[in-house]
Amino acid sequence: MNYIRHQFNIMRAVALVTYKEWSAYRTHTMVSIFVGPVYFIVQYFIWTAAYGGKSEINGMSLTQMVTYFGASTLIGYLTMDFADWNLQMLIRTGKFLTFAMRPINHRFFAFSQKVGHRFLGLMFEFVPCYIIFTLLFGVNMVPKHLGWTLLSVALAFLMNFYVHYILGMTAFWFIQSSGIRRVFDLLAGVFSGVFIPLVFFPEAMQKFLFFLPFPYMSYVPAMVFTGGFKLGGVTMSIPLIVGLQGVAVVMVIGLCSLIYRASMRHFSGVGA
């Protein structure tokens, strides 16, 4: 119990410092208040034109589609991650050595940073955009199942962090891993359903996506938000898909731990 309390105190301290640090650049975060709604408007016009007189495309109504993009944007603000960039920068510049010597696991430190950074995102991105979507655009942004949505977003938060951290660890071997990160970001953008809901992909591809981490990063929580889940012709109940998302997160955490140990064995530094 004392150990958990101690860890919680560390997390709170690191998160608070990160929050304060990034608060100094809050206009940087607040750019989303302009960018998010503009992209949303573009999506709105695209899909309104694409639907024409149709009531449904690939099992999704226009209202559901608009809600999906709204939810996807808002969830993105809560789960956004750049642990990979941070870690590869520390490795490339040699600064990781100072973390290797500290009596704290860097992965836990980075996670705590993310908590603080995303709390700032909640205040300066999520809340303002939620108000704009709801009051200005008149989109119903109330999740169908609030509890399951919160749980799914929390799991997406973890999934985003651990996947990006694994990506950052490639820098232990490649030093300059910006190319790898860009490849991943592109794949994640497409296969996590940020650009287009995954039900628009060929059915075989949709089935294959169940075995990749991408859908669990954005598509699953956004669909849980809208109240229904379908992928690869499989319709799942909300508790079942959130459970599956939980299993996927546990597997990624396990993989991350294995790679972290290997990275620590591989790492060598000569003073930073």
Partner: protein
């Protein structure tokens, strides 16, 4: 003029040398741009593949608009888009004076120094989609081709204007790496047939912030669907670029530093 051409040639050589130093990174960056280029129209392909679409526009017509947009982006990325990052970095680090001390035009030097060949994958991808689209459309006449080239050049002026306004903004909004996101979001109105947007958006995207000239109008000229509207949009585009140049130059004049 000759001196400036020599400087530009040297900068291109340096860009190639840099790319060859980090070969894997350059290769991945080029591949990613190429893949990104393929995936961008994928959304259009998936929309049309599901039986939906934009009324009055075939899939190849929409892909043509997007390929023109992509080619514009690629050329801008390679030739002058880097001025924004270079200015932002120099202002943030406080060493913009070092650029001002050079005996050449500041704006030219920053554009030349940031020449990048990373966008080559994007350019090839754009050209490939452009050719595929054209093969599946009625062959344009010579007049259409001439109009296309003219509109494409004017579209590049808009891209230059955007880059310079972003760079000028970074003098005041120091170190905000998200400035491009603001303009990227606005540029996304130029990637689609303008008929899907309401009239107000249409007026803004054609005459106020003329992003329609980047992808839509050149493609419309090639399809013979431009009409007089695209000619009316030329003047706002030229004015937009002029505004960018004047704004950047005035920000350079206003810059104050204490020596890096």
């Amino acid at each position: 003029m000759k001196r400036y051409l020599l400087i530009y040639r040297e900068c291109i050589k340096v860009a190639f040398a840099t790319a060859s130093t980090y070969r894997l990174n350059f290769f991945l960056n080029s591949v990613i741009m190429l893949l990104g280029d393929i995936l961008f129209p994928l959304v259009t392909i998936l929309i049309y593949g599901s039986g939906a679409g934009f009324e009055g526009w075939t899939i190849y017509e929409v892909l043509l608009i997007q390929s023109v947009f992509t080619m514009s982006m690629a050329i801008a990325d390679m030739s002058f888009h880097g001025i924004m990052w270079a200015t932002m970095f120099a202002v943030r680090e406080g060493n913009f004076e070092m650029v001002l001390l050079m005996p050449v035009d500041t704006m030219f030097l920053l554009m030349a120094k940031t020449f990048s060949i990373d966008g080559i994958g994007l350019l090839f991808g754009g050209i490939a989609i452009f050719i595929i689209s054209l093969i599946n459309l009625t062959a344009p006449t010579l007049i259409m081709w001439l109009q296309f080239v003219a509109m494409f050049v004017v579209g590049m002026m808009v891209m230059l204007g955007i880059s310079l306004i972003m760079a000028a903004t970074s003098f005041k909004w120091v170190g905000n790496s998200r400035i491009p996101e603001i303009f990227d979001s606005l540029r996304s109105f130029g990637k689609y047939p303008q008929s899907i947007f309401p009239k107000t958006v249409l007026i803004v995207s054609s005459y106020v912030l003329p992003v329609a000239m980047i992808g839509f109008f050149p493609a419309a000229a090639l399809l013979g669907r431009g009409g007089y509207v695209m000619f009316y949009a030329i003047l706002p585009c030229v004015l937009f670029m002029t505004l960018g140049i004047l704004l950047y130059r005035s920000m350079v004049r206003l810059y104050q530093g204490v020596g890096g």
